[in-house]
């Protein structure tokens, strides 16, 4: 049984369907990555799972149970954490408060979990009292991931976590995604930096115009010439 499986998902915003029957699976403790050109529906797939885009067909299963169209707090309670691409921190709240908000559904043992997040993201240690909106893009991404991990999720969904970051922060974030995954958390990743993302992933999905174009192990996709030429920039 897969951790997450998305079957024939049709979804979009308003009257427009962006996804036209997409299939995805994330195995427990694995990293799956969605790559593809702009407008392929990569982010929409995540948003549809979390109720931020309308689902018009297909279904989503988590640990074998249907979760299609369930409210966000129910999904969080089941163990799915989601980090949106933009506006992913509470800007006026301190870093510590951001982390505490991640634990809203599970208020016990907050100190221990904050300590774990700080071990994973040491740069946040000195920023705990600072407003999250004042941090650099890379540190904000760490706060956002930390907030999501406070739920102790089984699946972490990251929407373009390296968008707009300097190469140095980009490497750090990919490195931290590997570390999170090593602790047993399944990861679903949407990425523009397709090569780097496939390099850390187990499975890859190439989406184009709202449909699956290629589905394979990440290593095979990296080796596939057609994928490389069309989607990975040669």
């Amino acid at each position: 049984m897969s951790l997450l499986s998305v079957e024939n998902l049709v979804a979009g915003y308003g009257p427009v369907d962006i996804l036209q029957g997409v299939n995805l699976t994330v195995e427990a403790g694995r990293i799956a990555v969605i790559v593809g050109p702009n407008g392929a529906g990569k982010s929409t797939a995540m948003k549809a799972i979390f109720g931020l885009a309308q689902v018009r067909g297909g279904r989503v299963l988590f640990e074998g149970q249907e979760i299609t169209r369930l409210p966000a707090d129910t999904l969080c309670g089941r163990g799915i954490a989601y980090v949106p691409q933009e506006r992913n921190v509470f800007r006026s709240l301190s870093v510590r408060e951001n982390l505490e908000m991640g634990a809203f559904l599970k208020p016990g043992n907050i100190a221990r979990r904050i300590a774990e997040v700080l071990t994973l993201f040491p740069p946040l240690r000195e920023k705990l009292a600072q407003a999250a909106g004042e941090l650099s893009g890379g540190q904000r991404q760490m706060v956002a991931m930390g907030r999501a991990l406070m739920l102790e999720p089984k699946l972490l969904m990251l929407d373009e976590p390296t968008a707009g970051l300097s190469p140095l922060y980009m490497d750090q974030i990919f490195d931290r995604i590997i570390a999170v995954n090593k602790s047993g958390v399944g990861v679903l990743l949407v990425e523009q930096n397709a090569k780097q993302a496939l390099a850390i992933a187990h499975t890859g999905y190439v989406l184009a115009t709202g449909r699956n174009r290629f589905t394979d192990t990440a290593a095979n996709l990296l080796a596939n010439r057609e994928v490389a030429e069309s989607f990975l920039g040669g």
């Binding site: 979390f50 931020l52 966000a72 707090d73 969080c76 309670g77 989601y82 949106p84 506006r87 992913n88 921190v89 509470f90 800007r91 006026s92 709240l93 408060e97 505490e100 908000m101 991640g102 809203f104 559904l105 208020p107 907030r147 999501a148 739920l151």
Partner: protein
Amino acid sequence: MAALSDFINLYLLPGLVVGCIYALGAIGISLLFGILRFAHFAHGDMMTLGAYLAIIFTASWGWSPYAALPVAVIGAAIVALGLDRAFYKPFRRAPGIVSVIASFGVMLMLRSAIQLIWGVDVKTYDIGIRFPMEFGLLKIAPRQVTIVLVTAALVVALHLFLTRTRLGKAMRAVSDDADLARVSGINVEQVIRWTWIIGAGLAAAGGVFIGIQTKVHPNMGWDLLLPLFAAAVLGGIGRPYGAVAGGLAIGLAQELATYRWFSDEPFVDPGYKPAVAFSVMVVMLIWRPTGLFKGRS
């Protein structure tokens, strides 16, 4: 010296007391805007409701209005939760203007209900005559001290709630970004319920203070609406602390504007006090629409 004590006794202290009352109302307007993204026009009538709920206890059982205050606060909070469930919750996903119009409807309903139940006449709490405490030339009425101290205590309590408790922090988080709060697993409906409880509760306390200070009548909430919104705008809408500062500033500005600043005549005729609040609001909206404390535009 006599001129200075006059200034303090007749302008500064009353301005401070009125400012506290405005602050209590404006906090709710600001909090509700931050969480629900609409201007709650029935908020003045929540204050009226609080004032009349206290009358039940002062008139029927001879309670002191201070003893009736907590009961009025709880009563108004319960009514607000009911109103939210019936008239605002169905429009949660609709554009904000729909809720604004709904709040106009609620405003008219509340006022009419109050007129039906309690009549249209002016009422008072019958506190009897209390002599002011005299400190040299300064004359301070006990009720002024109570109003200022209770308001200060409520504002401190609100601050502790917003910065120290899980629910208070969640309230700030929802005000910051409601969508992110939702996907983070924060129970937004629970936060909304507490926003109504706090906003309506503080408004009711302000309403009871007006009754203690002057009198109670069904249109008092309507008269308050302008200064309350001026205070919320001045403080930066969506910022509860800004609303406190804005309330005090508007209250003081209204009273101090009537002082004999430049001649033996009041600088602004007391009949034009509401115009002072209105002018402040217009100037702020032109000069700095996000308010003094950088609220939302």
